[in-house]
Amino acid sequence: MSVERGDSFELYRWLYRTMFTIRTVEERLARSFMAGLIHGACHTYVGEEAVAAGVCAGLTDDDAVFSTHRGHGHALAKGVSPAALIAELYGRETGISNGRGGSMHLFAPEIGLMGTSGIVGPCILQAAGAGYSARLLGNGGVGVAFFGDGAVGNGAFHEGLNLAAIYDLPVLFVCENNLYATEVPFSYASRNPDVASRASSYGMPGVGVDGNDVLAVHEAAIEALRRARAGEGPTLIEAKTYRTRPHAEGMGLTGVYRTEEEVAEWREKDPISRFRRRILSEGTMTASDLDRIEADVRTEVEEAEREAADSPWPDGGTADRHVYRETV
């Protein structure tokens, strides 16, 4: 969803709607999880919406996004409908992958969503690959990897950033540093607390941004996309943020390391209410504009949920389809 730059009304409306959609879908999914409607794991993106929205606002359908286990926000921001997403988590025929994938395998290649993932790390390498094919085929596309702080210690981070750098690939590496990998603090997992600084080891720019400030994220992404599209190579963006729900639904909100106080502190920095205040103070939109967006989104998500719940199950006889493209 590439939004015309310079038109802050359109941009703000898109960002606000996208963030609010992610929030509303995630909170709906959390209730659905408790009700037993979701059959596998469900990692929500609550608190981190500004990252997906801020980056994806600069992308077109030809840009390829490779996401994580916590990928509903990326999918929605890339343009997957709440209906197709919820139905997939419900395991239904109408889901985005006809129920083959679930939460961690959401694909919509026609709009450049190249998958959420159950494995931490590979998205970094695959985004480099999308950058490689963009260069090879000359199609102007950009590869974008979203990944958590947990992926930074993984070999894929090193290999992927290095490969993208040496071939000058059009790639954005977007680290969503929410301070924890499940329960392991990043401060424990790394002697260097700063992810962005690692970029210099690979000879690429590294940019740290406030991941709860959607406009700051967007600005960093736009500059990185400009570089990528101009053939200047990859950029590493570190968006510092926080998840204000548990690692996965059904787990504890706090744990061995996270405290109630810390969660409360970050709730104060909520990216959506923060953007709302900003919009109102700038006067770009009125409170009733924003309320109308919220009401629309709530209706859309409730309808999507009902549709998903009423959708048929996929036929078990189709389970062996799509293993191979070609039959022998």
């Binding site: 998958g115 695959q126 490689y132 090879l136 070999g155 992927g160 493209r325």
Partner: protein
Amino acid sequence: MTEKTFTEAAREALSDAMDADPAIFVVGEGAGERGGNFETTAGLYEKHGPLRLCDTPICERGFIGMCTGAAMTGARPVVDFMFTDFILDGLGELINQTSKMQYMSNGRLKMPMVLRGCIGIGHSAATHHSGSYYPFFVHIPGFRVALPSNPADAKGLFATALRGEDPVFFMEHRHLLNLKGPVPDGEHRVPFGQAAVVREGTDATVVALTVMVHHALQVAEELSGEGISLEIVDPRTVAPLDVETILASVRKTGRLLIVDETFMPCGIGAEISAHVTEHGFDELDAPIKRLNGAHVPTPYSPSLERAVVPDRTTIEETVRELLAE
């Protein structure tokens, strides 16, 4: 037909495919200007340049993952591993990503990726440069595995892999790389899943893979002097596996030996023998036999190395045992 080595024949398939399809690119350590450790890409860099003949750092996981992403986005990567042993550094990418991408995406993504590498025991290469490992990949849904045993099949199977839409392992045995043979000129494709009966016979069927095809043929030639008639079947691809041709042969001979240099447990021999007992039990006049390389890491010293690989002597012994049953 022109006489070519195995490597030349495969390179011709690659060169033709690269001329026809600008989305094909090759990555590997030395695959660029150097022309490949085994001359797999010799002469192609001059023609196609560094983006299509891409030298990589030593990061097998990294470039497998990168090529997976490239295949997802419209390119057709060929990964040149030099030695298949090095694939193991990228197994997670291959098995969790490459093989499953089409399925996870509900058939909306294609995965036209070719993974090639040298396999096989010999030249005192020892245990980090002699692995074959193809049974792993046969076990995984989503992969194709081609094991050419001669130059013509090297060209034909590679051409099929390069034009296909699914991920293919194309594995080249070290003892075959310089083998010469007649190769069809121009367009030549060998379809996957079609075994070749490389010698007809009536007394026993020997299914042999890659270099073992040649040993089995020599044994068959020697035993023919004693009036023993062996039928030799070369599956050519093990995923998919042409069970029908093997069953048809066993119907004729009533006896089956499978010769494979790789390990016996959960191997290709086990797979073939399960199919034959399930679908051809009544055709068997004797229990099926398997002859494999020893279930040990590959040793270095020539005398130790020889001891772990099936050869003409052990094949002949096993054939005699099979016929005596």
